[in-house]
């Protein structure tokens, strides 16, 4: 019995290491837990993509549940994600607010005209200062924000219908249920 035990030790150690390594294979190093979850979106006052004269601030966004999507025309994954956003916006399941990040106004406008505009509000953060406050480290990133401006979830990378239906939609329904 003792002998069996002794010989099984390397096997057990191997098993433990294998489990950790296997888990590591499936983990996404880009998914970094955001410290902003449970906190308010940062204060900001930025122009819209449409016009430098129209200013939008964080207070304007209060009163509705929405997805805050950080995007840019130089971001290839954003192009891949865009059709999903348009589809979601048309479905009416949730509002999407766009934060255009470190981009050129003309390019952003052309993008929205050609590919469709899924956003109810288009914020233009040319310097990326608000994106820093949001802890953005890559585009696209999508935040779920409630009617009080509290961030409930952050998704790094392109949003897919799978992620939306499995993760975001249940959270949105929960928030709606609590709000009513």
């Amino acid at each position: 019995m003792n002998r069996y035990l002794r010989y099984s030790v390397p096997l057990i150690v191997f098993g433990i290491i294998a489990v950790f390594l296997y888990k590591g294979l499936g983990m996404n190093p880009r998914e970094i837990p955001s410290p902003l979850i449970g906190k308010s979106i940062p204060e900001f006052s930025l122009p819209s993509v449409e016009s430098a004269q129209t200013m939008i601030n964080d207070q304007n966004l209060k009163g509705k549940i929405y997805l805050l999507n950080v995007w840019a025309t130089w971001c290839v994954s954003c192009r891949a994600e865009h059709d999903t956003l348009v589809h979601l916006a048309r479905s009416g399941k949730v509002e999407i607010v766009g934060l255009n990040w470190k981009d050129e106004r003309v390019k952003a406008q052309a993008w929205l005209q050609q590919l469709g505009d899924p956003y109810t509000v288009n914020i233009f953060d040319q310097k990326g200062r608000t994106a820093i406050d949001l802890g953005v480290y890559g585009a696209p990133e999508t935040f779920l924000v409630d009617a009080d401006g509290i961030i409930h979830y952050k998704h790094a990378g392109p949003l897919t219908l799978g992620v939306f239906n499995e993760t975001l939609l249940p959270m949105i329904n929960d928030l709606k249920a609590k709000g009513s």
Binding site: P29, I32, P33, S34, P35, L36, K102, K127, G128, R129, I132, D133, L134, G135, Y137, G138
Partner: protein
Amino acid sequence: MRLFLFSFIYLLGLTALQAATLAEYTFEDPAQDEDFREIIEEMRCLVCQNESLAGSNAELAIDLRNEIYDMMKGGQSKGEIIDFMVARYGDFVLYSPPVKPSTYPIWFGPLIVFLIGGVVLFRIIKRKNQSSETELSEAEQQRLEKLLNQSNEQRDTNQ
């Protein structure tokens, strides 16, 4: 050889280039200068995760360096700047994570593994010493002699 020389000069050029990009950050107070360089060395660039803010040329790293520079110029302390970064990007932005329950495994895990290894090693050594010192029992002694005699006899007959 020429290729080697070329790549060497090229690499030298790269380091010079990087030094040049960091040289734009100047402080009148040398202590502040040192703090600034320490902060950007200790912070991870989140775009290219194995580079520090000091070493990265990613757009975000440049923006963050500028932001930290402005904050220092504005008179904020090293602690305040670290808090600012952690509040936005989380502990992940720090190369050496703070000691707290969720990070106990990475701080103390190696020590525990080391201790377990030490105990196992100690026990193995102890057992080895014991087994070499154990004397044969009477029955074993007799059997040994018998075997030795047998082999001697065999050798005799073989000769």
